[in-house]
């Protein structure tokens, strides 16, 4: 068995670009997915049944179909419904929609974890519903739901590999491309693993930093 590091070093430019595309689609997809998920969760928690029922159906459809199929449907099936998109926007949208239903479930659990009494206290003082969400519910929820959020964000990081099937030149597409040209599968796939490892590890570290930051009020001893 041979191992040729030059396969990687010779293509550093392409690999670097692929890495950036992965990072870009991932982070945009996550931000969009978080926003979408928050809106869905709010609609579920505060909306009436006319809002809740269709959302429930939407969540079930997205949760029970593979991301790959959703992406195919969006990119290749989209034009039949008048939805023509470039690969990268389609990829970001697909990732966001796929992530949003899981984000929504995490947020919903978070909203339900804040004791009702705290909201009654806010209500009595004349603090409105929106302010209550922003100032009282979200900051406390953050502590509870952050581990689950970070978990989902890392899963979405690895799901970006699927974006290669709609011709987005991200890390997986670049490295498997080099692999099939040079037949150096070991080098390229190993590099691919390391690429994702770096992204996921960075994300987990950031998550842990955030957890201690938002959880300061849980500490019994003053700092």
């Amino acid at each position: 068995m041979s191992f040729d590091p030059h396969i990687i070093t010779d293509h550093l430019d392409d690999i670097g670009n692929g890495f950036l595309v992965t990072l870009g689609t991932w982070s945009s997809g996550v931000v969009l997915g978080l926003l979408l998920g928050l809106v869905i969760a709010l609609a579920q928690v505060f909306g009436n049944n006319f809002v809740r029922a269709p959302l429930r159906v939407f969540i079930e459809i997205i949760r029970s179909t593979p991301f790959l199929v959703q992406l195919f449907l969006l990119y290749y099936g989209g034009p039949s419904f008048g939805l023509e998109m470039d690969p990268i926007p389609a990829g970001i949208l697909g990732l966001a929609v796929y992530g949003s239903v899981y984000f929504a479930e995490i947020f919903r659990g978070g909203f339900e974890s804040i004791p009702r009494g705290q909201l009654e206290a806010a209500d009595c003082l004349g603090i409105g519903r929106l302010r209550c969400i922003v100032r009282i519910q979200l900051p406390q929820m953050a502590v509870i739901i952050l581990p689950a959020l970070v978990n989902l964000v890392t899963v979405l990081c690895k799901e970006t590999a699927v974006l290669s099937i709609i011709t987005i030149p991200e890390l997986t597409m670049v490295l498997t491309g080099i692999g099939s040209q040079t037949f150096a599968f070991v080098e390229t796939l190993l590099a691919l693993c390391i690429g994702y490892l770096i992204l996921v590890e960075a994300c987990s570290r950031l998550g842990m930093l955030l957890e201690t930051r938002v959880g300061r009020f849980m500490q019994r001893q003053p700092q």
Partner: protein
């Protein structure tokens, strides 16, 4: 002006105790009822509470005393009769209607009517992610639109009033139950309420922490705050209350001065309630009696 006079006239007409004529009716309840599903937990309560009056609500659990108190802040949507806070109808657009015809007032109107009502809860309900100071400044800044410096000054004064200025930067988890409840009282007082509602404020506290909270409440009562207190602290009710109301099964069974309620209790249900209370709290008896009391 006419309105005020009408209120005053009503107040004095409804006033059966020795309160002076000038006392204004702060809270008026007329035929207030409330259902939880099929269960009618409040059955047509009539009640007038005057300025500076301290009213204690006592009764067995399930008697509706907490529901009655919470209705006065519209935390429970009472579904019969009406509640007026300083002459303004609370919560509904049309309290004379019943069932689905009853329409909730807009949120802004509800908040406007109860802006002078402060509420203190059994479980404190502080916001744990904010410091003691933050808990008090929050509504001052967000609702009263005070500047940060203004709110801070007011909040520190309120914390000082409850003896906790030195704990301003502590988070609720770093405070004892008694201290948390005092912060909660400061939070309500910061909004300059005319009426304070207390829902079993000491029931979640260790017995040795009850005193500090009751002390703050006694000071408030002395300063002339109108207070409605749901409590199991009969000692507090006896010392501080102007009138004590005994509720049972959603009805006012007896109302009177502490003397009338605790000493001259006539109603059998009240006598039984007080006897249970005394039995539970008599943990030491003289030798002879204790021996006699043994089964």
């Amino acid at each position: 002006m006419n309105n005020t006079q009408a209120t005053l006239a009503l107040a004095s007409a409804a006033n059966e105790s020795t309160a002076p004529e000038s006392r204004k009716a702060m809270i008026q309840l007329q035929g207030v009822g409330k259902h939880f599903g099929q269960l009618r937990v409040l059955k047509g309560i009539d009640l007038t509470i005057h300025h500076s009056e301290v009213v204690c609500l006592i009764g067995p659990s399930g008697s509706g005393k907490s529901t009655l108190l919470r209705s006065m802040a519209f935390l429970e949507e009472y579904d019969e009769g009406q509640i007026n806070i300083e002459g303004q109808l609370l919560g509904w657009q049309n309290a004379e209607a019943s069932g689905v015809a009853r329409k909730r007032a807009p949120q802004a109107k509800i908040n406007q009517v109860r802006q002078n009502v402060g509420m203190v809860f059994q479980q404190f309900n502080l916001w744990p992610h904010m410091t003691a100071l933050g808990n008090v400044t929050e509504a001052l800044q967000q609702v009263r639109k005070q500047s940060k410096a203004q709110a801070r000054e007011r909040a520190l004064a309120m914390l000082d009033k409850v003896g906790l200025a030195h704990k301003a930067d502590a988070y609720p988890i770093q405070l004892s139950g008694g201290q948390q409840q005092r912060v909660a009282i400061a939070r309500a007082l910061a909004m300059e309420p005319h009426i304070m509602l207390f829902d079993e404020p000491t029931s979640a506290l260790d017995p040795e922490l009850v005193g500090e909270v009751l002390q703050v409440m006694k000071t408030l009562a002395k300063e002339g705050m109108t207070m409605v207190v749901v409590t199991h602290e009969m000692g507090f009710a006896a010392q501080v209350a102007d009138s004590v109301i005994f509720l049972d099964k959603g009805e006012v069974v007896a109302r009177g001065t502490p003397q009338q309620i605790f000493h001259d209790a006539e109603h059998p249900r009240l006598q039984q309630f007080l006897q249970n209370y005394l039995d539970r709290n008599a943990f030491w008896q003289d030798g002879k009696d204790a021996a006699a009391a043994k089964p």
